[in-house]
Symmetry: C2
Subunit: 248 residues, 2 copies
């Protein structure tokens, strides 16, 4: 919608199953990729369990610091789904069954199937807008700067697609990856630090991975000014070539 | 080492590359599994970028709340590796080159290779113990209740193996997973909520996944009293059988 120089966000993943190790969270990585592509800077992620006070504290800490907070998890029909109530408590607003949400649920199920547990999925904090999805019909919602989404990846992704066109976005980050191959980080660290010091507006990172018995390093240059990113990447490539030649 | 009723922990992942989506964090899921197995309750995870103030704030918030804080990332030789300095600042202690750490580095490299960048990896906050690893020799460290580990998964895992025998641990959590198959969450939610209400000391969660065009649900019962976990799991299995028969 609107364009600002920088729009920031946090992700809050809610669920005991992530903390216990049972479920490996893929949502936060998906959202990180997604926000980078549309020009929103993800600045923090948190994972908390299904404990109301923890969710309230995290929502309030994050919504005051960042332009948007995206939550995942805890909006289903079972007793452990407490996100909607916790978000209402964080905002200090009442929560009740939303007729719009009930209508959506009834698109998928017969009135006789809409038992008390399923009606829980229509509970929405007052003042929130619904966030629909194409998979389950049960909506998430958007209140203040907090966007509350499902934990099931396919549903979360559908909700994010619905929300994205309405988000304020900033300049997109351009990234260049430079393969350092088998050159050690310690060999290029000084030179890389000089390039980074000359370009304080860029994020320049060195990322080692270890496999097949050796280190394989990549350097990533990220920033919103494509020309500066390209110039820094070239300076780093020249540095690496020089170091490789020195070794020979 | 010692055994307490409950030992808690948080994970703090440090690195711009996770927030930008470039790297999908696998360390926090690995640590979650690992801690569950040895009897430590992981209560929170956070991801912050390579920004000193953010790391200091997160370390201080988490170390006051939990028995242990495990950090990953930011202890290499390049300019973006600022974790050791940030942790020293969080504890308000000086940081300098540690002779023990230098000795470890020299096991892997010649004195001539130990340039200024590599010497950075020997900077350790005063009062910290080293955490060695079998891969790179460059150590992490343990100060107060904060354990600072590498971001490269193989190195982090080796450090965790070194630290684990020295950690206080509590009773291990026993988990039982019950397949709900194609039964909808909304169908069993009321009955499951009753079992959960009768067992407040257990964590009972319902986890839907969506694939092949349909939902497939699992229920997980977790707790430290194996007999209670087994009894609750049996009650849930009986509930599901009853609901399946009602549908036929």
């Amino acid at each position: 919608m609107t364009q600002k120089a920088s729009v920031t966000a946090a992700v809050l993943v809610i669920g005991d199953e992530i903390l216990s190790g049972r479920t490996k969270d893929a949502n936060s990585g998906y959202i990180a990729d997604y926000l980078a592509k549309i020009g929103i800077d993800l600045r923090e992620m948190r994972v908390v369990g299904d404990i109301a006070a923890e969710i309230v504290d995290a929502v309030n800490a994050l919504r005051q610091r960042y332009d948007y907070v995206f939550t995942t998890g805890g909006i289903g029909p079972t007793h452990d789904d407490i996100t909607a109530d916790a978000v209402a408590a964080a905002f200090g607003v009442p929560i009740s069954e939303d007729p719009r949400a009930l209508r959506l649920l009834l698109e998928r199920m017969k009135p006789a199937e809409l038992n008390e547990a399923r009606r829980r999925m229509a509970r929405v904090p007052h003042g929130a807008e619904l966030v629909e999805n194409d998979i389950s019909k049960a909506p998430g919602f958007w209140i203040g700067n907090v966007i509350v989404m499902a934990g099931v990846p396919a549903i979360m992704q559908s909700m994010l697609d619905r929300v994205a066109p309405k988000l304020a976005t900033g300049a997109k980050v351009v990234a260049r990856t430079i393969e350092a191959g088998a050159l050690f980080e310690g060999t290029y660290a000084a030179g890389l630090g000089e390039v980074a010091a000359k370009n304080p507006e860029l994020s320049i990172g060195s990322y080692p991975s270890f496999h097949d018995g050796g280190f394989h390093n990549q350097i990533v240059v990220r920033g919103k000014d494509a020309a500066k990113v390209a110039a820094a990447a070239e300076a780093i490539e020249a540095l690496l070539s020089r170091l490789v030649n020195e070794r020979v």
